[in-house]
C-alpha cells in the first residue's frame, strides 16, 4: 500500500471536508466530547488495563463514531453507541492479546486489602486497579458498564452480544469475583474510594 502524505493545503481542506464527512458539526462534537470523553477513557483504561492503549482507542472510538451513518434519536442513544464502539475495540484487543497472552500463576497475584491502615483514596484505587487486572476482560467490561455507567442489563447484553439471562449470571460471577479479590471489607462499602 502506498503511503500518502497530506500537504498543508490538503490538511486545511480536510477540515472543511470533515463537516460534510462526519455526522455532526465540530461545535456539536465539542459539546458531546466534553460530556463523554472522560467516562469513555476510564472505561477503556479500566477494561484494557493500559492507559496508553486507552488514549489510542479513545481516538479510534471517536473517529468511528464520527464516521457512523446511524441516525441518532437522542444523546443517550449517541452515548450508548459510543460505548458499543469502545466495547468492540476492546474486544478486538482481547482477541489480539489472546495470541500472546502470558498466564500469571497464583504466586504472581498480589494480596489485596491486607493492611487496614492504608485507607486513603489513592491506595483504594490501586487496589481496585490490581483487582480488575485479575478479572477476565469481559468481566471488567460488564462491571464497568453496569456499575460505573449504570447501563441496564438489556443495554449491556446488546453491547456485548449476550442474552440477558446469560448476562445476569455473568455479572453475578464478576461481582463476586471482584469482591473476593478485594477482600470482605469492601463488601459493606467500607472503603468508598
Amino acid at each position: 500500500m502506498r503511503e500518502f502524505a497530506l500537504t498543508e493545503m490538503e490538511r486545511a481542506g480536510a477540515f472543511e471536508d470533515a463537516e460534510r464527512t462526519f455526522q455532526m458539526t465540530e461545535e456539536a462534537f465539542r459539546v458531546f466530547y466534553e460530556q463523554t470523553a472522560r467516562p469513555i477513557w476510564m472505561y477503556l483504561a479500566r477494561t484494557t488495563g493500559d492507559d496508553r492503549l486507552a488514549d489510542d482507542l479513545l481516538q479510534e472510538t471517536y473517529y468511528r463514531f464520527l464516521r457512523a451513518r446511524t441516525a441518532f434519536e437522542s444523546d443517550d442513544h449517541r452515548r450508548h453507541y459510543l460505548f458499543r464502539i469502545a466495547t468492540n475495540l476492546v474486544r478486538d484487543q482481547w482477541r489480539r492479546a489472546r495470541t500472546d497472552a502470558v498466564e500469571l500463576g497464583e504466586a504472581d497475584v498480589p494480596e489485596l486489602g491486607a493492611d487496614d491502615t492504608l485507607g486513603d483514596r489513592a491506595l483504594g484505587r490501586i487496589d481496585l486497579t490490581r483487582a480488575l487486572e485479575q478479572l477476565k476482560p469481559r468481566e471488567r467490561s460488564l462491571l464497568w458498564l453496569a456499575y460505573a455507567q449504570g447501563f441496564s442489563h438489556e443495554e449491556i447484553a446488546s453491547q456485548l452480544g449476550l442474552r440477558t439471562g446469560s448476562l445476569k449470571a455473568l455479572l453475578f460471577r464478576a461481582r463476586r469475583r471482584l469482591i473476593s479479590v478485594l477482600g470482605d471489607r469492601y463488601r459493606s462499602g467500607g472503603r468508598r474510594g
Binding site: D17, R38, Y63, L66, W144, G193
Partner: protein, 170 residues
C-alpha cells in the same frame, strides 16, 4: 436466576451513581441490607463510581479540537486511498495487458523472423559455406530460444512497471 439478580438492582445502582444512596428510601436501604445481591451491588457500584468520579478531576484526555482534527485528517487520507485504489489496479492491469500484447506480437512475428534468417543464410550468404554453417546455427538457436525471448520481452515490459511502483512508494 433469582440468585443472580434482583428486581431492585437497577434502582440501587441508580441511587449510588446519582450520589443519592445515603438519602435513599429506608425501604430500599433496608432491602439492600437484607438482599445478598443488592449488598454486593452497592459495594461494587460505590467502588467503581468513586473511581469514575476521580476521572472527572484527574484524567487528562486530548482536547476535543485535537480529536476532531486528527479524525478529519484521517478521513481525508482514507478518501485519498480510496481514490487511488482503482488507479493502482488500473496500472497493474495495463502492465499485464502490455506483457500479453508483447508476447502475442513476438509469437506472431516469429515465423517471419525465422524465414528471414533462412533466406539470409541460403540466399544472401549461400556462396560462402562457412558463413552458411554459422547462419544455420543462428537459425537453429533462434528456433529453440522462443521461451527465452518471451522472458526477455516480459522483463523489458515489467521492469519499468516495477520501477514505477517502487519509486512511487518512496
Amino acid at each position: 436466576m433469582a440468585d443472580h439478580s434482583c428486581v431492585h438492582e437497577h434502582d440501587v445502582v441508580a441511587a449510588v451513581l446519582s450520589h443519592r444512596w445515603d438519602r435513599a428510601s429506608d425501604e430500599l436501604t433496608q432491602h439492600a441490607a437484607d438482599c445478598e445481591v443488592c449488598r454486593d451491588v452497592v459495594a461494587v457500584a460505590r467502588l467503581l463510581s468513586a473511581d469514575q468520579e476521580h476521572a472527572r478531576y484527574e484524567v487528562h484526555v486530548p482536547a476535543a479540537g485535537q480529536v476532531w482534527w486528527r479524525a478529519a485528517v484521517r478521513a481525508r487520507l482514507e478518501a485519498a486511498h480510496a481514490v487511488a485504489r482503482p488507479l493502482t489496479w488500473l496500472h497493474g492491469i495495463a502492465g499485464a495487458c502490455a506483457v500479453g500484447v508483447a508476447c502475442a506480437m513476438i509469437g506472431m512475428a516469429w515465423p517471419s523472423l525465422r524465414e528471414l534468417a533462412s533466406w539470409f543464410t541460403f540466399e544472401a550468404l549461400g556462396a560462402d559455406a562457412r558463413m552458411a554453417d554459422v547462419a544455420a546455427f543462428v537459425t537453429a538457436a533462434m528456433q529453440r530460444s522462443l521461451p527465452l525471448a518471451f522472458v526477455v520481452a516480459a522483463c523489458l515490459v515489467l521492469a519499468p512497471v516495477a520501477l514505477y511502483f517502487v519509486l512511487t512508494d518512496d
